[in-house]
Symmetry: D2
């Protein structure tokens, strides 16, 4: 029997989830809710078999629906997901998971108590590039890790209900916390609302860890060029993940630092070593396709998702601390 | 009569200054001092007419020498420049100008009192790219300015007597303060010494101004790839300066933000606007050649250099404040 | 009343046409034929309202169908299009138009006699990039034209029924003949079948014109990297069209040649001039969407398509001559 | 004892040779001849110890000079080199070696008879990139070789005494014949003189070999962008050599073609295979430095140069045949 899925929200991202769910074996989208008549009309023209609704309740209460996909602004995530879980439905919710750690914790508890799957749509985790990087990092290819530096900047699209931190940084933070098994301790963030919307449109975010590992992200809606670049430095190798590259998205540099101590000289001598570069083949399957398949698998096999509530919560915890720091003009804030 | 120049230091950067001075009309290098015998031998093989010396004093005290070029570690700048100015010699000193604001102020005073030229080698200011950007900014092409974001990262070369902040950030800070006529107020800097030399090898630096303009620089000796990119955002246009591009180093984007306020809707609606891109022709003359010519001009015509003591001092002031912030784990520090 | 469209062929390219036709106002896909059961199943899963068929005849003979879209191998184009036109249906056929000039001429005649629209799917002509280049060339921005040089190389996909010339070069030739209002005179082509399929997998094609203008295309299925670059040189300006660039696909260089004749010197002195570069904003709408809309417009308004039979025929004429030259080891062959 | 070198010609390329010879252990430039007073003045300002002359004879006849470096237009190569060899001097001559095969053969014979070193300045052969490619090709990394495709285009500099074929193609042909141990059989070349100098400013050159291997070069002085790219395809791996890349000049793609023959299906099925990409570390030493050292080694150790007369002659043979084909509008011409 197919899993009957109801989708709430058919705005910018919803169509991608509906399309992928439709092509996922074992799942079928049976209903889609959106407040806007023109979005519902678009659903009907594309998928005449999907029932369209102007409110979420009919999906949340429909006993024939097994799973709910929530693709709405973050302010609505908690209420919608809570009701879905209480009605015994599995939930897939877009990022960021929730507005607060408290909201996220309640949803995690509800999912556990009811034996339901709760998957947070950290899409990048399902890309071939991030999966390849995870493999490289887990096998220790990079050696002792130094830093994670991410730049995610472009022009617009301004979100209407959040700053650029909550809009773009979830991507960086989900990748960071997925790849790096270290505990963040302090966060500081500075940013500006240049346009006067009440929301920062550029933010620099620094994350300090228990050791000297340092993470940094630059998220910006006011950049003339699109940059999507993550550097990860280690003492054995370093890598660059450039998501704007069509195929060679991950490049591993057999380069590093050589420290020598000469007898009689007290200063540490440091030299650098450059070597070959290597771009492993990356699986180019659409990430959402893998994510939807994983959602179905988790439901069928009662597995914990790779990007479950816990992963979502970690990201929300960092965002919450970063927002506090932002309000305090960059003050170092405990996570 | 040619200006007789003595050069102190023939390490990494000295050869570039000697070569350019030699080809500058009106100047001639007559002596070069370096502690290392092999460096002196190299000078002699290249320039048989240049006298080589194993100590700076013979240059500083030589009455036939009109100008001294100091290409040594920053810790020696103040003492060498002071003596040169006291002996009535013009001075060109590499960046960073001095270790402290106090040192810099003394040199500026000495130069003024003796009517001597004091030029700080902020090389980038003499590039065609920075000159073109100065022109664009001075004519208001970019509109109201939002931010300055610089990334200057690569692998090595580790300096032996300074951290990456004092080694690389002078470039960014000299460009920033040359282009943007705004007053920096606060600085914060975080960084790490990953290798154990006692000096930070990666630093993130944020500079707050009197208004909402924000500047940020990422300087790093541990990056697998070389990046030299500056973004400058304005409300009318934005630009990218990529120094690794062979010819189209500056790109101006006729892109920006459109703010609309619809009647009856209280939220500001922001949309972005993309337009043409334009890469102005950049003069490709070697920056040091223009700088050496400017040094000679300033001496002959008793002019103030574009990158004189004051420009050097502004950069040192920012570095000093950044170092304090770095020691205080990123605490916001007044400039 | 919507135009009822029947699509023949749902392989690699068919899905793109069906999707765009479905979203074109005034058109609706009512039937789709494909020999392969799995492709028909895919149509049904995506578009439950489209009737699927295992043969083309039911579409060609269906009186309720107004227009036929032929997305099959070139060997079948003539027979299918001929029958469609004879049955009074408008035709959109993928490139290359036909196997021979004779076949193409018959279809053009049939379309004319029956007052039907015959559109050849030269997709690139409908891209924002080619439209912008057409505008630049038509206004004489480039001055006197020197050459057109195209490189279209990548790894695979090997066509099963044609060589790389007939597979890839139609793109270059359709762009060339659309942009450059000059008459081709001779063609020469060399190529190799390295893999032993009986079809050349790499071809170099040269086209000579009535004047000294020269066109050249390199098409290749055996390249490790994907290149999609066209250079057009003129005496006032030159341009580069790089289709792999995400946004700045067309760059116009205000660069050229300066010829000076010094008195008393008989030789022509040539110098080059470099100037600004300019990347005009390119409309990023999907080309097939514009093409489908144009097809509907031509039907409704009884207009001649931009890429009608005549445009298709010109390309086929060049391909036919090139194939002759290829068989004759590159011998210069009249078009 | 140092080898005393006399250099004839101090125009565009001469300064690079003089500078590198000066820094080569075992060699010393003692004299330099140039017709132009300003060029001789430049030599004296840079190298006060080098004797400057306004004619070549004084160098050719000077018994204290051991080796002559000829950096003059090709039309003078034969006469100058002949006289130098007859006077018992070793010769290094810039590319192209000579105007004709006959001239080259005479010089080779003279060098052999007199036991002298005759080195042709095929500079690229001494780059780290070409040396790495040679290593990869010699060990069979690429498998069975398919093709060599070179694009060497940019704006200007127009040579005054040759077409673009003789100016730029020697680079491509020297790399091709150095790397690929196959015998060229036929050449065809087409080109145009757009500017009216009497010399072609763009040429497409095709070289056919004894087997199906195909080589092609596009050389052009009228391109708005600088391209320096060589593709080499093999059935196991393929490589790209991009000389405009600052460090990763050679990229090896573990990609290729898979041919399968299914039972009962007569057609060959071809699929492509993509794999990892790998950029081996390239030695970045200046090529001319390695070449000058090699010249000295060959003289001292009586070795045959890597790029001796024979290598020069092969290139001249191809150029001669290409010029014939160019005059005959691209007719296939035997080498």
């Amino acid at each position: 029997m197919d899993i009957n899925v109801g989708v709430i929200g058919y705005g910018y991202w919803g169509p991608n989830l509906v399309r992928n769910l439709m092509e996922t074996e074992g799942a079928v989208v049976v209903a889609c809710a959106d407040l806007r008549p023109d979005r519902r009309a678009l659903v009907r023209s594309r998928y005449p078999t999907v029932k369209t609704l102007d409110h979420a309740e009919a999906i949340l209460d429909d006993p024939k629906i097994d799973a709910v996909v929530i693709v709405t602004p973050v302010s609505t995530h908690h209420a919608l997901a809570k009701r879905a879980l209480e009605q015994g439905k599995h939930v897939l919710v877009t990022k960021p998971f929730t507005r607060t750690v408290a909201e996220g914790e309640e949803l995690i508890r509800l999912a556990e108590e009811n034996g339901l799957v709760l998957l947070v749509d950290h899409t990048f985790i399902y890309t071939g590039a991030v999966r390849k990087m995870k493999e490289l990092l887990d096998t220790g290819e990079l050696g002792h890790l130094y830093y994670f530096d991410s730049v995610r900047v472009n022009l617009g699209v301004f979100a209407h209900d959040s700053d650029v931190l909550w809009d773009l940084a979830p991507h960086d933070l989900s990748i960071l916390t997925h790849l790096i098994p270290k505990t963040p301790k302090y966060v500081s963030a500075v940013g500006v609302d240049h346009v006067g919307t009440g929301f920062a449109d550029m933010v620099y975010l620094t994350i300090h860890f228990e050791d000297s590992f340092l993470a940094h992200a630059h998220v910006n809606w006011l950049s003339p060029v699109k940059v999507r670049q993550i550097l990860i430095g280690g003492d054995r190798r370093m890598l660059v993940y450039d998501d704007t590259e069509p195929s060679e998205k991950v490049r591993v540099y057999d380069s590093g630092i050589q420290v020598t101590t000469q007898e009689g000289i007290y200063a540490t001598l440091v030299d650098y070593r450059t070597g070959d570069m290597w771009a492993p083949k990356i699986e180019l399957r659409e990430a959402l396709s893998a994510e939807c398949e994983h959602f179905v698998d988790c439901i069928r096999l009662k597995k914990m998702p790779i990007t479950g509530g816990a992963a979502g919560l970690t990201v929300v915890g960092l965002l919450e601390a970063a927002s506090k720091s932002l309000a305090a003009k960059g003050r170092r804030t405990a996570v």
